[in-house]
């Protein structure tokens, strides 16, 4: 159906054969709407797959027990060790001034667990280096390590958030 045919008809009478271009526009718009509806109905799948918020590692009491390190292993100045808490890595050591320190051992660069090497905390993956205050002093790490509050209670070591609650 050409444009001439159309103009030959009285203006107020529509053409029996549907206008192709109008039809395509309509289908396009409807297709867009259908895509939006279909997309929205995938939301449950998205929620199914999206991770649930991780539980607070320090729990209700605000503290977590340190695994694989006993108080005796950090009794002397300069002693320290890699251990774990709530499914994460931790480094606990006693510095030269006799202070007990703890850092979450996850490297701020790419997430490897750094190793306690006495004076420094060293990451074997890309050579990131931190000093005993957790400050990044060499290699790729962009930020200092996360420091934790550490204390002994009834023969066990516990860590807590620096500023958080938790008996200690």
């Amino acid at each position: 159906m050409s444009a001439d045919d159309k103009s030959a008809r009285p203006a107020n009478v529509a053409v029996p054969v549907p206008d192709r271009r109008e039809r395509r526009r309509f289908l396009g718009a409807l297709g867009g709407l259908a895509a939006v509806w279909a997309g929205a109905s995938l939301y449950p799948v998205y929620r199914f797959l999206s991770p649930q918020p991780a539980p607070d590692p320090f729990g209700k009491e605000g503290r977590a027990v340190v695994e694989k390190i006993s108080p005796a292993e950090v009794a002397q100045n300069g002693m320290g060790k890699n251990g774990g808490y709530a499914g994460r890595g931790v480094i606990v050591f006693r510095n030269e001034s006799g202070e007990l320190k703890a850092f979450d051992s996850k490297c701020t660069h790419a997430g490897c667990n750094v190793q306690f090497q006495g004076a420094k905390l060293f990451c074997n993956c890309h050579g990131g280096t931190y000093d005993q205050t957790g400050k990044n002093i060499a290699g790729p790490p962009p930020r200092p390590l996360t420091e934790l509050r550490v204390f002994e209670d009834q023969g066990l070591l516990f860590v807590a958030r620096l500023a958080g609650p938790g008996k200690g």
Partner: protein, 370 residues
Amino acid sequence: MDERFAPVPPEAEESLPPPGTLVGQGLRALLRRYPIWPVVAFFGKKRVPEHRDTGWYALGGIAMLFFAIQVVTGILLMVYYRPSQPWQSVQRIVTEVPYGALIRSVHHWSANLMALALFVHLFSTFFMKAYRPPRELTWLTGLGLFGLVLFFSFSGYLLPWDDLSFFATRVGIAEMEKAPLLGPWMADLLRGGADVTVDTIGRFYVFHVTVLPLLVIALLGVHLLFIQLQGVSEPDHFAALPGEKKRYRSFFGEFLVGEIPIWLFLWGVVLALAAMLPRGLALEADVTAAAPVGIKPEWYFLAPYQALKLFPGRLELVGMAMMGLAAGSLLVVPFIDRATPSDARGRLVAWLGAAGLVGLIVMTVWGLLS
């Protein structure tokens, strides 16, 4: 024209969207690079005869729809399922993971509807006599697919490791064990031991998520290819029509598109069933406790279960043999009933099939009620 590109086949030009549009341009670019037009033309040839039984042709596609739902929901469930902690991980899915209960229920209901669709597909092709030469292998691959799907259901049923699934699997394999010769050997192989244990889950899980899907996809490909090559079978009353009275619809352009609203509806039915009748999770399987009251196999295994009850004690073997014979007769039917148009033997086969179907339904309903 750059000679690295081939021209667009003229017959393709007719059915492509105008070159001005994005899709039209893209498809032409594709055709100039890869000579896929013969493949498209090959699939485009498929057509569906139009007669009073055309509706039955939709069943295969419907079963495939449910299979697709199974693949997607199955993959989703695998994200959280742990064969080492079967019950605990399913419980986590249904009580902790957002919409986990919904997705599991969809998987459950779609499995049931797939089995139902296949039953109908099997019997409709049987009564339309689509198994006759030259389509024997299409029929056999179809039967193979049906068997695989039943094994799918059987293996999937064990995975939640609750009371029901444990006893159902134990009973199912015990029946298999009674088969002469290979029975005990196969049962041990399936169970991974003398009894159903967590080890059995490992095996069933591997079957359920890798072996069976691969087999189904391969066999389904062959099944569909056979149909594509030979065309859809025509029942006698249609084949007898004079040529000018035979009417066809193109398969992909018309028949399949016309089916889409039906698929949408059936997908809605699955959702509605999942919403109204969510699949529950019974207590974790306790291998020491008594089987729960009123335990029964799923409906698609009910008919043999109920039929076996008719053969008490030693006679059970006779019953199993008879059922084996009935199932086996489906395998040989294309080689017995060969005449087109149907002859006396063909009619007899149809009547026997009808009797079998009635028996199946009666046994299933009886099993449901008892």
